[in-house]
Symmetry: C2
Subunit: 374 residues, 2 copies
């Protein structure tokens, strides 16, 4: 395992440099933000978790006047050989069809991203089928590493070089977002079969039994669910990835999950705020956090999905989700719903008056103390 | 109690007609919305509570293509004689000062409403102090019924005619919102001392002990908290309002709370979607729901505040909040944060493609059935 990590880092110097370059946020910025918040015309801490969100955003950007725009959601799409085991309610062909839907703007993520004022980029990192990209604009990136992973129930998902390439696609998208001045980045996923891969990653990294971290995905019936738990168990038995994050990702992961890992670490390196999505992006967050614990300073839990393994991930990632609306769609939809809360947090820091500037009396104790001193 | 209800309805025919005019939503619209949702390019129910929100919005508007804009937040401000008992961390003068802050646009509600694309109206329904309205635009309404309520620890908050006038102010604002085509209405509050009145209303209507529904409001210390619980208990003992909602509202309520009751019932009469706010607006929702249970079909729990009495209210109102971010500010801030979720729900209904139109394969069972039939 140590060996394959060395091979990987050799193959992808960027990953190694990013892991070294992601610094923990400077806690003095949290303090400066809290001081500013205490002077705004509201009772102390009365905006609750919006205040801690605002303070974290300040720390990420090293300012007390943070930005929450421009916003971007990069949807990474790839197929999964494990669909041969009958683990999904939909055929593999749906991955390419849904990517076509993203490009025409009619999918859930398009609708929700528009309401969140976020642009959507779609990246084919390993779709098996033919994508109808007619009419697609410049936000589509074809970076197909291979047409779908191998069947993880029988062997590794991908080779070392394929893993390096997929992670590299993620870095490329993080760099593009940074070049475009993106303040909030989210990564979404599309890939029939990818809850199975995410369950396998989560089981390996959380040392949890497959049954605890496996859910119904897009909505399989009881029989298929039992089969899915068995497939996750077999994938871990056949591949024996241990707990080294890159081995787990390579053997039981997915190309889109690997790309999200790269995008996450690249975004953290660029000091960008990252809005977490659901169970698939959560699996990528687990891998990124294992590789580089400081990454979590830049990553914000956007929502908690109804996939049981997502709660396990969030416990390991030590964050409370901003939203809990029982979503289980992926695509970046949970992150899109959470993005307006970042806009609200930034507005509190940038647009509110202070007690002094507004001529509003302070708290009773302060008023009484001032009266006693007069 | 029955008698004073009769007096009230005599004094305010509009209240009586509204209570009669608010019809339950037609459940066939929920069904039609669910049918449309089932055809969109996503696994069934994968958008979780966003789908039930969308369906309810459809039922309110009797359409499957709902609107979530224009949006308005009406902040009703009034003072409370009970502040003489030392129940708040801030002096009463802060109510007028904060209203001035709203009019200059520097308060939390201004900042958050802007990010939610909602306009803010400010209504003085009973402020005691002088409001500096210099520079205020047309969104300010001076409708002062009396300069603050009486001290509820010693007697009733207001007279029957004052209650009728305050409720009438709320109806006026609902009518104005309807005339302006508002699709989403929220009511906020400003009034030093109003968590004490809201605790008394909640204790009376929920038949709960004062200590269970009293919190720290803007942040009083332990000594003031004990005093506050005692004041709520005394207010109920002195006024003996029973459980008739208008008696409760008149004797231990507040002018801004009464105005919210009127605005809520007026909005429901106009078939407008209402976004609930925190503990103060929640007290008004309890009163409105007691007067007219169908009102709840139009009211959506926006968030759950950290005031302990708010959870008690939401249980009685039988709704899960959309957000739980530990806010305890009022002003309509919780509702403002929830509004983008309505925009997202409407976008799902209006902007998503169907499986057929997108050329995406359906669920495995459907695909297999079609294959078997071929």
């Amino acid at each position: 395992m140590v060996e394959s990590m060395a091979v990987m880092l050799d193959a992808l110097p960027r990953l190694e440099s990013a892991i070294g370059a992601v610094r923990p946020v400077d806690p003095s910025w949290l303090h400066r933000a809290e001081v500013k918040l205490a002077h705004l015309t509201k009772p102390p801490n009365s905006l609750g978790r919006l205040e801690s969100l605002a303070a974290r955003l300040c720390a990420v950007q090293e300012t007390v006047s943070p930005r929450a725009a421009p916003r971007r959601i990069v949807v990474f799409a790839a197929d999964h050989g494990v669909t041969a085991e009958g683990v999904s309610a939909y055929p593999s062909a749906v991955t390419a069809q849904m990517v076509g839907g993203f490009l025409r703007g009619g999918a859930a993520i398009n609708a929700l991203a528009r309401t969140a004022s976020a642009d959507v980029w779609v990246v084919d990192v390993g779709v098996a089928g033919n994508i109808d990209a007619a009419g697609a604009d410049a936000s589509f990136r074809s970076r197909r590493v291979r047409p779908g992973t191998g069947n993880i129930a029988e062997g590794p998902a991908m080779s070392h070089s394929e893993l390096a390439a997929a992670i590299g696609v993620g870095f490329e998208m993080a760099d593009a977002a940074a070049a475009d001045g993106v303040a909030l980045l989210a990564c979404g996923d599309m890939g029939i079969g990818n809850t199975t891969a995410s369950s396998a990653i989560t089981a390996a990294l959380a040392r949890a039994p497959a049954a605890e971290v496996t859910g119904r995905g897009t909505g399989v019936d009881e029989q298929a669910f039992v089969r899915k738990v068995d497939v996750v168990t077999r994938a871990l038995r056949v591949n024996r990835p241990g707990r080294a994050p890159l081995d787990v990702l390579r053997t039981v992961g997915g190309l889109e999950i690997a790309a999200i890992v790269g995008a996450y670490l690249g975004a953290a390196e660029h000091r960008m705020a990252i809005v977490g999505d659901g169970f698939i992006a959560g699996a990528a967050a687990l891998v990124a956090a294992e590789l580089c614990p400081s990454f979590l300073d830049y990553w914000f839990a956007g929502h908690q999905s109804s996939e049981p393994g997502h709660a396990v991930q969030l416990r390991l990632l030590r964050q409370e989700p901003l939203l809990q609306l029982d979503l289980r769609l992926g695509e970046g939809t949970g992150a899109a719903l959470a993005m307006p809360l970042f806009g609200a947090a930034a507005a509190v820091m940038n647009d509110m008056a202070t007690f002094d500037s507004a001529g509003v009396s302070g708290r009773r104790e302060a008023v009484e103390r001032a009266a006693a001193e007069a």
